[in-house]
Structure formats: C-alpha cells, structure tokens
C-alpha cells in the first residue's frame, strides 16, 4: 500500500483498507506521524502530538483485527481534536496560557471517546484562538496556524488547527467546536467539509466552553460520508437513524432555495460565488430571504461577549496579563455589558427561531455564503463589509452567526476556488434535519461540485 494512497484516503476508505488488512493501523499512524513531523513546523496545526499513545492505540487496533474482531468503523483512522476537548493525560489548554497550568484531563471528552471507541487513533491536539474567541487562529501563546492553500493566510478559526490538519492531509478527520462559525469559517477557508449539528445533539461533556448558550461540537472531513459517519458515532445513532445510510438518497423530495438578500451580499465580490455555483449545479431557482439576520447576528455577538466575559471574570480580575492581548479586551468588555442587553438578546433568540421555523415550512434546505471574503492574510487587521472597513477578527463570522444563534444544522462545503484559495457554501436545514443537509452535500460531492482539493503549496 503506497503512502500516497494512505494519505489521500478518506476516513471511511482508510478504515476499510485497515480492516481488510491491506495496511496496518500501525503503518498508517507511523506515516501520519512522519508527515506531521515534516509539515507541521510550517503549518502549526498541532499544539501537542501524542506519538506514544497513538502508536499503542494503533497496535491495539491491529491486534483486534488479527484476532478476527472488528475495532469499529473508524478502525485505525488517525484523528485530531481541538485543544479544548479533554484528552486523558493532556492539559486542556483551550488555547490559553492560563489553562495550560491546570492538571491534565483524567478522561476523554465524550465526543473524543466515541470516535476512539469506534477505532480512531488520536494523534494529537490542535491549535485554536484563545478560549475559542476568534475566527483566525492567530494565537499569542501558540502561534498562528497557516492555511495549507497559502501559508501567508489564516486557516480561519477558532478551530483553525483542526481544519488545516485535515486540509493538509495530516489527518482525515478532526474535531472542532462552533459557537458563531468556528467550524464553518475554517472549513470554508481551508477548502474542506465541516458539520455544525443541531444545538445539543452532540455531547459537550469534557469540552471547555466559550458561550454555553451557543456552543456546538462538530467534525471536519474531506468527504461527506466521513462527516456523516462521525456525526452518527457521536450522537450514538441507531442504524435506522443513521445519516450515512441516507446519503445515497440524493435530493429527490427536498425543496432547496437560495438565501439572497442585502445582508448576505455585503461581502467581497467572490463571497457569493459558492452559492451561485451550488445553486446552478442543483438546478435551484427559488430565492428566500431571512428578515432580521443582522439582529440575530448582533444578539449572538452580545450573548457570546457576556457569557465569555463572565466565564473568565475571575482570571480577568487577577491575571489579565496572561491572556492573549487579542481576546482579553473583548472578554473584559463582555463582562461589563448591561444585563438588560443580554436578556433582550436571549429573548430575541426565541423570536428569530420562530422566523426560521416559518421559513422551513416551505423549504427543506437553504444555501448561503459561508464567509464574507477569501482567507485573509495573517495579521490583516480589517476587512471590507458593506463598503466599510471593519475589524477582521470579530467580523469573519457575519454570515455564520445568525444560524448558529438558533442552533440549526449546517454543512460548510467547499465548492469554489479563486486562484489557489477555496471558498465554501453553507447548506442549512431545520433543527434535527442533519440528514437533509448531508444529502444535499453528498449530491454536490457526487456531481463533482463540492470537493476538498489538495493544497498546491503542499504538493510533494
């Protein structure tokens, strides 16, 4: 089995190769660790590589297979997890210096444990914005994660290490979190698939929070079937509810529409191109609007600032100098916002949820842009939004925030390239309809429209 075949296989395909003994889990882990040694110094995806435990786990998978037992659907598949998931024996830094001082976790987060229980081999933990506050993964303590498609550009955030590791073929699958877009923005910037499931569907046990009201766990992958498989494993779906089994159903019976109103046109010229390309491929002509998306985004912003600020208030009082300068002033501001603002934002959530429920009475899936621009340059302070120059860090999620605000399931799918840089489309469904958004994503993949292209800058 060539190293190229192992490196480019998706998780589902790789597990099949390992279960059928065409390659061993130990060989796969060894190759992946070697690739991390070669490529990660340039990319900075990993904050810790767990070589010893990974090789032990891979050996255990090989021994199970040798005994004729099935390690599970992710048998021997290398994975990584954002460094805010508890991993037994590893400090859950959450991208901070402060939490790096805490003792190592004594057990794995539930989501990590579910994937490992299905045979996955955890290779390490991945870089992020400090405390998941940001869309760029430029971390003062652990450095910036570089976009594999252009190392001068950000990988997106806050799950930037998770997305870049998958895009760079260091692992086929990784875990991230999404409070306001932290799976979808890096998936779009790195040209891979990301799933933000319905709020509450995947356990957050053992995951350090940013804003409890809005936090979601989600996987990154280079194929839709891998996203679906990871989702099924993490929700512990029974076979009759499996989303993997629905992927072959195509889009028959699904009413799909394009979300097009001025709010979603305030980005750069190319930001809407993924929507147009996906809609053309699917033959979608219907257009819908989402009134008050700007208010939903504002409410999500206020809730995140308040909850994040109050979560960290004890450390903000006693050791502000130990925070990342890019986050400390935002957390402080959040801790100072009036309670009435927070209350109003939470109440508006119920109102906006009804707006979206009403919309989803007449459609099953909507398509929207994922980001207002291509991946920005590392250190780029501003972007242009609606003709105005605004700070980049808080505004790259302007198109993702309204939907995570009400917990809808969304796939970010890579459907567009501008030069070497990818862009994604959000495929959005009503609550609990992950199957619908994954079916549309799989159909786009089957048409060759959605595809996780290999980064040119990392060609061998």
């Amino acid at each position: 089995m060539s190293s190229e075949a192992v490196r480019t296989a998706d998780a589902t395909g790789l597990a099949e190769l390992i279960r059928s003994r065409q390659v061993s889990a130990t060989e796969v882990a060894t190759q992946a660790l070697e690739r991390i040694r070669q490529k990660d110094p340039e990319l900075n995806c990993f904050t810790a590589v767990l070589e010893e435990s990974a090789l032990q786990h891979a050996d255990a998978v090989d021994r199970l297979i040798a005994m004729g037992k099935d390690p599970g659907p992710l048998a021997g598949v290398p994975i990584g997890a954002k460094n805010l998931f508890d991993v037994a024996g590893v400090a859950t830094t959450a991208g901070s210096r402060i939490h790096a001082e805490r003792p190592p976790a004594d057990k794995d987060a539930t989501a990590v444990a579910r994937l490992k229980g299905a045979g996955a081999v955890l290779l390490g933990v991945l870089n992020m914005d400090e405390y998941a506050l940001g869309f760029v993964t430029e971390n003062a303590h652990y450095g910036a994660t570089h976009n594999p498609h252009d190392p001068d550009r950000v990988a997106g955030g806050s799950s930037g290490g998770s997305a870049a590791a998958v895009a760079a073929r260091l692992v086929p699958v990784s875990l991230g979190t999404d409070t306001n877009g932290s799976v979808r923005v890096p998936a779009a910037f790195c040209g891979i698939f990301g799933l933000k499931p319905t709020y509450g569907r995947i356990s957050r046990a053992g995951v350090f929070p940013l804003a409890d009201s809005l936090d979601h766990v989600g996987p990154f992958a280079r194929s839709v079937r891998d996203l679906a498989l990871c989702f099924d494993l993490m929700v512990d779906a029974n076979p009759r509810e499996s989303t993997v089994s629905k992927l072959s159903q195509g889009i028959d019976g699904l009413r799909i529409a394009v979300l097009d109103d001025p709010y979603f046109r305030q980005g750069s010229a190319e930001s809407f191109a993924p929507v147009t390309k996906a809609a053309n491929a699917l033959g979608v002509t219907r257009v819908v609007t989402v009134p008050e998306a700007d208010k939903a985004r504002a409410a999500a912003f206020i809730i995140t600032m308040c909850e994040g600020g109050h979560l960290h208030l004890p450390d903000l009082r006693t050791r502000p100098q130990d925070f990342d300068p890019a986050t400390v002033t935002r957390f402080m501001a959040g801790a100072l916002l009036p309670a009435s603002w927070y209350q109003h934002a939470q109440r508006f959530r119920a109102v906006f949820r009804e707006r979206m429920r009403e919309l989803f009475r007449s459609v099953d899936v909507i398509l929207a842009p994922a980001t207002p621009c291509l991946a920005i340059r590392i250190g780029q302070p501003t972007i242009t939004l609606g003709g105005q120059e605004v700070p980049s860090r808080p505004n790259l999620g302007v198109f993702t925030q309204p939907f995570s605000f009400v917990g809808l399931p969304i796939v970010a799918a890579p459907v567009f390239q501008s030069g070497s840089l990818p862009l994604g489309v959000q495929i959005i469904g009503p609550a609990y309809k992950e199957g619908s958004v994954l079916r549309v994503s799989a159909h786009l993949e089957q048409l060759g429209v959605a595809k996780a292209h290999a980064p040119q800058s990392l060609a061998e």
Binding site: M305, P325, T329, R347, R349, V351, V406, A431
Partner: protein, 62 residues
C-alpha cells in the same frame, strides 16, 4: 468617541469598579472600543420591540 471622557469610557470605568475589575491602562481604550462596537451592533436589536409573550428566561431549545 473613545477615551477617558466619552460616555462609554465613563461607563466602562464605573461598571468595572462595581464588579471588581481593574482594567490595566494599556487595555482601556480597546475595552471601551469593544463596548462601543457592541452598542452600535445592539442598536437595531434594542429598537425591536418584543411582545410580552416572548419568554423571559434564557432557556432555549432549537
């Protein structure tokens, strides 16, 4: 308008004192700017009246 004398600057200083937060001088302008930014974003939301039927407790199900 940011700075020591702005409405937001005065608010930040007073609110910080009330919650026992000492804002280091090097961070103060950025903290005030972040509050101003939140206030600007919040304006249209505040202008949206919510009916009495809208739940008051921050309890949510998707």
């Amino acid at each position: 308008m940011s700075g020591n004398d702005s409405e937001f600057g005065l608010y930040a200083d007073h609110a910080a004192r009330l919650i026992g937060l000492d804002i280091p001088a090097m961070y103060r302008d950025a903290v005030v700017q972040n509050i101003e930014r939140a206030a600007k974003l919040y304006e249209p939301l505040l202008a949206t009246p919510l009916s009495d039927d809208t739940p008051w407790a921050p309890e949510f199900e998707p």
